[in-house]
């Protein structure tokens, strides 16, 4: 028992020794934010550390909103975001004197999926998706024949992203027309693998998530072609249809936000440049759609030219192609 008797003063001394002085990791590139962007940034960080000896990068998952909160408090160097920065977040950053670069790094195609056992859905229009998902559909729209009269009288079961995710925000904005407006009686999950299980087991189920989850489960799931708002034939999500802007409005850009002050550290600038050089290939590897080569060059030019701020002005927008995005002027 001597051990405990000795450990008491030792423990107290240890706490005392630590109480002084602020504690922060030095020389580390700190990144936090969206779980959707995480796999891309993780891959870039992994490659960067493999190539530059001694480089240290950390990536957390606090969600896009949680990431911005930390970013605007000055705690992180880079913030992953699956949607552009919002007005109230811009205000927070401005109050803290934090200026930033908004850098699109890849596209994600929100994919609407049904079970492979479902043979009757050939394609869906945005209007039909809206009929399914809008808040007023709650407890009323319960069968497929309410969506389109030619569909069978099959019970309609819905699955999708939980209300805290950027995926949910974007999908509701694109389909219902207002962010976060959705019926509540659906299988909501932060873990997309749960949605995979739910939809694959039920002929009448339908759900949505990022393209990567569909590509890993093509044996169980079928992607539904989406008719663009301009009309025409249904379009399937793919690298080609995202890049040529035909898979709309469900393709969305993903961003990293870089703190301007952090660029005084050469390793941060180097990391961002590395991201823009290798990010496209790495994004494709982890299941996202890399931007066209030319876009990365323009972005890099804007970055090195000091073009700061967001091009969205704090309101989310749907259906933007990378060309439109890059033409605009940024605002802080």
């Amino acid at each position: 028992m001597k051990f405990i008797a000795k450990a008491i003063p030792a423990g107290i001394a240890l706490i005392g020794a630590l109480a002084g002085g602020p504690v922060h990791a030095a020389g580390v590139i700190e990144i936090d934010g969206s779980s959707t962007v995480f796999p891309i940034t993780e891959a870039v960080a992994e490659e960067y550390q493999a190539q530059v000896g001694g480089a240290r990068v950390t990536v957390g998952i606090s969600g896009t909103g949680g990431g911005f909160k930390r970013f605007c408090r000055g705690e992180t160097d880079i913030s992953n975001a699956s949607r552009p920065i919002l007005k109230e977040e811009m205000v927070l950053c401005a109050q803290a004197g934090i200026k930033y670069f908004e850098i699109p790094v890849a596209y994600d195609a929100l994919t609407v999926i049904v079970s492979t056992a479902n043979t009757f859905v050939d394609q869906l229009t945005i209007q039909e998706l809206k009929t399914m998902w809008e808040p007023s559909a709650q407890a009323k729209v319960k069968s497929w024949n309410q969506i389109r009269s030619t569909f069978p009288d099959q019970p309609l079961k819905l699955a999708g992203a939980g209300a805290d995710s950027g995926t949910f925000d974007y999908f509701t904005e694109a389909v219902v027309g207002r962010a976060k407006a959705s019926r509540g009686d659906y299988q909501a999950s932060e873990d997309d693998n749960v949605t995979v299980q739910f939809v694959s087991r039920d002929k009448g189920a339908i759900g949505y998530f990022g393209l990567a989850y569909y590509e890993e489960n093509t044996d169980k799931l079928r992607a539904v072609p989406i008719v663009p708002p301009t009309g025409g034939a249904g379009v399937l999500p793919s690298v080609a249809t995202v890049n040529d802007g035909t898979y709309q409005p469900l393709s969305r850009p993903l961003f990293i936000y870089v703190k301007e002050k952090a660029l005084s550290r050469p390793e941060v600038r180097e990391f961002v440049e590395f991201y823009l050089k290798e990010g496209g290939a790495l994004a494709s590897e982890v299941g996202y759609v890399g931007l066209p080569e030319a876009a990365y060059e323009t972005i890099l030019k804007n970055f090195n030219g000091g073009k700061m701020g967001t091009v969205f002005g704090g309101t989310p927008e749907i259906g933007l192609t990378i060309e439109h995005l890059l033409e605009r002027e940024g605002k802080l």
């Binding site: 109480a19 995480f38 550390q49």
Partner: protein
Amino acid sequence: MSNDPQAIRRLVVLGRRYDRLFAIVGMMAMMVGILTLAVLLAGLIHDGAERLNWDFFQNFPSRRAERAGILSAIVGSSLVMLITAVTAIPLGVAAGVYLEEYARRNWITEIIEINVTNLAGVPSIVYGLLALGLFVYALDFGQSILSAGLTLALMILPVIIVSTREAIRAIPGAIREGAYALGSTRWQLVRDHILPYSTGGILTGVIIGLARAIGETAPIITIGALTFIAFLPPSPVTGDFPFLSFEWLESPFTVMPIQMFNWLSRPQAPFQVNAAAAGIVLVAMTLLMNGVAIWLRVRFRNRIKW
């Protein structure tokens, strides 16, 4: 009560029947727990065993499942547990001894006692929120191993205090009286008798607390544990004087349950295998800690001479 032997015999038979019935119900109740655990473990091992090789322990996380490992998570978990143990054990034991041996019995002590017991039931996320405000921001420890260790220490303090008190209460009053009769002071009594005799019980509480802490995710996420980190904290032992460095306390980190959860939510199937393998390691770590506790308990019990 009749004296009819027939009736008594019937009563005995009935009693035995109830006995047997209860034995069966009790056994079934036990099997629910044991079988569930066995099925879970078997499932984990079936899913994850193939990934359990040396590389898995030596590698950092990676976008490629086959190359990904738990090195940063296992080091992070171990260091956080170290901080937790070093702070929670002395504080908890000292508090328990004070409440049992020194504190006067009055309403203040009573309120403290009730609150300590209540604290043991507070959801862990609440400790996370408290720690975010206190350790991360107010004391400016940042999102570090130190903050995480102290958070978990706070969380398991009540468990250690309560088990310390239980263990002390099991010591016969005659021991105390004997010590006082021979003229020992209160501190001598605590040092030479109370602590040695209660070590077994205290260790049980410590291990239950630490085992809970090692699997805890919510408060650690709240204070900002990372998901991808591919370097280790600075070594605590250095080549220069004074040969000890506390820099690792300030280091960012990740822990096993977070790494597991991250892999579980990936779309690619090979990551699910990694998650199961990490689960096996986590269960093994807990079993190991329990094993050490049992061994220590037996050792200390053998020394008790009364």
